[in-house]
């Protein structure tokens, strides 16, 4: 039996009443169930409007769900009155796309804010603030104000603030979407350390697949308020089941060529075009290629690539094969014995 998940959503829905009389109600979250274990970095991906931001706000009850249960460490918080939610929220940190720092407060006093809410005295606050600023590498900016910081620095302050009250859970709402690629990687590395060094469970909301690729261990794909696919990041990346998931995967991983890409390939290369799937090291590439060369089938890699997630390689390679039809068929039959072959006609 597995231990109780740290965060569990059971058949959760969020329906906004129609703003105009007569218009239908808007279902932002539609019967979502999710289970997130302690220590996970759980990615939630989807296009804008898919309901990700609403979903993450249901976890710390910044927004109220209209149906279902939200269990934090086994306790349903969905219907708790506002006052009783406050200690719950101290145990759930949150960082935002726009950082949401208090401009009227210095960096140090921003980080101290949750500690003030928690009622810690001044000495305790000061030592914790110093510790957190040190962790995010901004010890020298304690007295600076948010408008004097770069975007990446602001988000690091946001992370320090979110973690000041030592929460077990961190919610990251598009935390890197306002940052440039280099800064994004700095922040993602920092979040990785948060997970590893403090054991904080992180729920990452994003529309950027590479955030999931570098950070998450598990992923749920959202579309129109529903979770349409979920699982280990490796499984979803290497073998997406839903077309929406496949589209996300294709933004960072070259899988099978799309129809227009195929046309270009066909125009450029003669012969037959096949796509081979590789997953983990169960498929030996050199064996595949030797099957072709053995019978004198000429091959050229025309599309695709091999990627790695959590140290496990996977990918698709599309080949243009030239030679006698019968020999190609025979070679393909032998290759089919140890990998998936898709021939595109």
């Amino acid at each position: 039996m597995s231990p109780t998940p740290l965060v569990e959503l059971r058949n959760v829905s969020k329906v906004y009443p129609a703003t105009v009389k007569g218009a239908p109600d808007v279902t932002a979250i539609d019967d979502v169930s999710l289970s997130i274990d302690a220590g996970d970095v759980y990615g939630i991906i989807g296009y804008s409007g898919a309901g990700k931001s609403t979903l993450v706000r249901l976890v710390n009850v910044l927004e109220r769900s209209t149906a279902g249960e939200i269990l934090i460490d086994g306790r349903d918080v969905a219907r708790l009155p506002e006052r009783e939610l406050r200690p719950v929220r101290l145990g759930i940190g949150m960082i935002f796309q726009q950082f949401n720092l208090l401009n009227s407060r210095s960096v140090a006093r921003n980080v101290a804010y949750p500690l003030e809410v928690a009622g810690h005295d001044k000495t305790k606050r000061a030592s914790r603030v110093a510790e957190m600023l040190d962790f995010v590498g901004l010890a020298d900016k304690a007295g600076a104000f948010p408008d004097q910081l770069s975007g990446g620095q602001k988000q690091r302050v946001g992370i320090a603030r979110a973690l000041a009250s030592s929460p077990a859970i961190l919610l990251a709402d598009e935390a890197t979407s306002a940052l440039d690629p280099e800064t994004t990687h700095e922040v993602l590395d920092l979040l990785k350390r948060v997970n590893r060094e403090f054991g904080v469970t992180i729920i990452v909301i994003t529309h950027e697949m590479d955030v999931i690729q570098t950070l998450a261990t598990k992923v749920a794909v959202m579309d129109k308020g529903r979770v349409i696919e979920r699982g280990d990041v490796f499984d979803v990346f290497s073998n997406p089941q839903q077309s929406a998931s496949a589209r996300f995967v294709s933004t960072v991983v070259k899988g099978q060529p799309s129809a227009p890409e195929l046309e270009v390939l066909r125009a450029r290369h003669g012969g037959r075009i096949v796509t081979l799937a590789f997953r983990d090291d169960t498929v030996d590439q050199s064996r595949v290629f030797s099957e072709f060369s053995r019978d004198g089938v000429a091959f050229q890699v025309v599309y695709g690539g091999i990627n790695e997630i959590q140290g496990r390689p996977f990918g698709h390679l599309t080949l243009a094969l030239t030679g006698e039809d019968a020999t190609i068929d025979a070679a393909l039959d032998r290759v089919r014995a140890f990998t998936t072959v898709t021939e595109v006609r």
């Binding site: 929220r89 759930i92 949150m94 949401n100 208090l102 401009n103 009227s104 408008d147």
Partner: protein, 219 residues
């Protein structure tokens, strides 16, 4: 000019009274405006203490009181002044009436200033477990402090304007002085002296307000 020199003691006294009236109305009207503005902001749809009934009542009240010309409001509110400060005439009655009118005018300005605070910052405070009172005092007011100071500076000028009609109900100040010794005695020099003092007064306060606001905004 000779008249003015003879009237100088009266002029200083009137200036003092204007300061007195404006000072007290700024204090009471300021607090009233803050309460009305916070009420409007907090009760509006989507805010942390959303309450349709409270918002509608406040909104209608503000929209009713604000357009009434002050001289008419002064007359209309006289019975209320008698009830609250014990007299319908004199400086206390004018202070009460100006503070009342200013509360509604300032309320709207405070509401608008609070709306400049990014909702995300309030959400961040809620996400660490801050309650409404804490959010008001540690997020809303500090984050909106710069615009609020400018708003109060703006209303200060309106207070000086309103205080000028105090003479109608037996109050003092530069307005009453200009009416009594300038306008009615056909002595424009006396009127201009009062005008000059008011201009200096307003300029000083605006300068001070700008400086404080800049400090609050750290620009």
């Amino acid at each position: 000019m000779e008249n003015l020199i003879n009237l100088l003691p009266e002029l200083w006294k009137a200036a003092g009274e204007t300061l007195y009236i404006v000072g007290f109305t700024l204090f009471f009207g300021g607090i009233g405006g803050l309460l009305v503005g916070l009420g409007l902001y907090l009760s509006r749809a989507g805010s942390i203490l959303e309450n349709k009934a409270v918002f509608s009542v406040l909104n209608v009240l503000v929209n009713t009181v604000r357009p009434i010309p002050f001289i008419i409001f002064l007359a209309a509110a006289q019975p209320l002044a008698r009830l609250v400060v014990g007299s319908g005439i004199g400086n206390n009655a004018i202070i009460f009436t100006i503070a009342l009118a200013a509360s509604f005018a300032m309320g709207r300005i405070v509401e608008q200033n609070l709306l400049t605070v990014t909702p995300g910052v309030i959400e961040a405070a809620r996400s660490v477990g801050a309650g409404p009172a804490r959010i008001i005092f540690t997020v809303l007011l500090p984050e909106a402090l710069g615009p609020l100071i400018l708003g109060y500076t703006f209303i200060f000028v309106a207070l000086v304007d309103m205080s000028a009609v105090a003479g109608y109900i037996g109050g003092g100040g530069l307005g009453a002085f200009a009416l009594l010794y300038g306008y009615r005695q056909f002595d424009p020099v006396v009127t201009w002296a009062a005008v000059l003092l008011i201009i200096i007064f307003v300029q000083l306060v605006q300068f001070l307000g700008n400086r404080l606001a800049r400090k609050a905004l750290r620009r």
